[in-house]
């Protein structure tokens, strides 16, 4: 069996992912152990599957078009529906980012995806405060944010969480390593992510004319 290094999902990827999920590596206790009701063993297996996807840059194919992103999700669903679900937002965000105009921030996050990074979307933003009052920009390039945001799935599966910050009208790219902590939000598997003075740069925000979910470039069948 030939293993592609071009980021294409092939039979070897399907075989490897099935193997990981059916027989994951020994579970290593993490902060997950502190949360009753969280299936840390299953999350560990998904993390191992994501590690494989990142190493093979399989998520990069989603940047080509919404159709390519949908094909990736389809192939993943053929392996494991829950695994495919973890990359639903990635399959929305990657082609969207590829379709918007070039900027340092857009190019940086898209470049990271092409190097293998996986993204998710903040399904809710209960609170967001820029300590300086507004998003960083060219004249004041480093800002600090205090926030509470929510994600559909375990945040530690991703490299970055993207969200719409409406008051500054910017798409914010929050690297998961900037989170102060995250805890389960509800029984449905959602997580609350807390930022405590997280430093974000002007190259971590993309000004947009409107909420990306309202733009024509946003993949049409994506959840609003």
């Amino acid at each position: 069996m030939t293993v592609s290094v071009s980021g294409e999902f092939d039979d070897a990827a399907a075989y490897a992912l099935r193997d990981i999920l059916s027989d994951p590596a020994t579970h290593v206790p993490t902060i997950l152990a502190d949360h009753p009701g969280v299936n840390g063993r299953r999350i560990s297996a998904l993390r191992e599957a994501h590690d494989y996807i990142i190493g093979r840059k399989l998520g990069a194919s989603a940047t080509r078009s919404p159709g390519d992103a949908a094909r990736l999700i389809g192939r993943l669903a053929g392996v494991d529906q829950a695994l495919a679900s973890t990359l639903y937002w990635h399959s929305v965000l990657a082609p969207f980012l590829a379709s918007i105009p070039s900027s340092r921030a857009r190019n940086a996050v898209l470049g990271n995806v092409k190097r293998g990074h996986l993204l998710t979307w903040a399904s809710a933003v209960p609170s967001w405060t820029w300590r300086s009052g507004s998003a960083p920009d060219a004249t004041r390039p480093v800002g600090k944010a205090d926030a509470l945001i929510e994600a559909d799935t375990y945040p530690g599966l991703y490299d970055a969480i993207l969200l719409w910050e409406s008051r500054s009208a910017v798409l914010v790219i929050v690297p998961t390593y900037r989170a102060a902590d995250w805890i389960p939000a509800d029984a449905a598997g959602r997580w609350s992510v807390r930022l405590d003075g997280a430093s974000l740069h002007a190259d971590d925000v993309i000004p947009l004319s409107a909420d990306p979910r309202a733009l024509a470039l946003w993949p049409g069948d994506a959840q609003k």
């Binding site: 190493g55 470049g111 190097r115 060219a138 480093v142 690297p175 390593y177 430093s199």
Partner: protein, 241 residues
């Protein structure tokens, strides 16, 4: 092979923004091996004295530089210093140093010595504030106009026997061991063949292949050329705001 004028800068990220100079020069693990290899191959290699580096001193050095070896560090002669906020520290160095290069000297090739944990992100529990400083500097460099090569050495090891080849990979989750001479060889291959190495981000590791002998720099250069260029490299020398 053309002789290159190399300037080494090793900013201590913990002191970013706290000094009147452009950077505070510290110590990085492979500096002697890199300087020694550069001299052996006929290049000039200059670095400032450890401590605060003044703008005029740096400008004079950069005015004749072909390559900057940028090796952010946590090490000073008295010990290790982690920045309080790595992301902010990396961006401060980016603005103080890389913005000036991008504006005034966009032809200089910048070889950034990052670290393999940058690729692992939140998934690796050994990451430290310095890691996120390197992450910020990588992004800052890719956003500017200078051609770049970003090297992510894996865990540092002692000098290996000659069977250990120097290898590059674009795998974000690369792991392994690399010696100071392995790092120096990767740096020098990038210096001598910027056409092959520029726009690439690669982890560096050693791999024992008995009987293969010492890795030729041309072999590392071929490895650079085989790596996919960073997406951001298609915007180098374009004005991107």
């Amino acid at each position: 092979m053309q002789m290159a004028n190399i300037v080494e800068l090793a900013p201590v990220l913990a002191y970013a923004g706290t000094d009147d100079g452009v950077i505070v020069q510290g110590i990085w693990n492979s500096r002697d091996a890199t300087a020694g290899l550069a001299h052996a191959r006929g290049h000039s290699y200059w670095r400032p004295v450890d401590g605060s580096v003044a703008r005029d001193e740096l400008d004079a050095a950069l005015s004749v530089a072909d390559t900057v070896v940028l090796a952010p560090t946590a090490k000073v002669v008295t010990g290790m210093r982690q920045p309080l906020d790595g992301s902010e520290a990396g961006r401060i160095v980016g603005h103080r140093l890389l913005d000036v290069l991008s504006t005034k000297r966009p032809r200089i090739h910048v070889v950034l010595i990052s670290h393999f944990l940058v690729g692992h992100g939140v998934a690796h529990h050994n990451a430290k504030p310095q890691t996120w400083g390197l992450c910020a500097l990588e992004a800052h460099l890719r956003g500017g106009r200078n051609p770049w090569t970003i090297l992510r050495p894996t865990w540092l090891s002692t000098v290996h026997d000659p069977s250990y080849q120097t290898r590059l990979t674009s795998d974000q989750h690369a792991d392994g061991l690399v010696s100071t001479t392995g790092v120096a060889a990767a740096v020098m291959a990038a210096v001598e063949d910027p056409r092959a190495a520029s726009g690439r981000t690669a982890a560096v590791y050693n791999l024992s292949i008995p009987g293969s002998g010492e890795t030729a720099l041309s072999d590392i250069s071929d490895q650079f050329a085989s790596l996919e260029r960073d997406f951001e490299a298609s915007y180098v020398l374009q004005t991107v705001t």
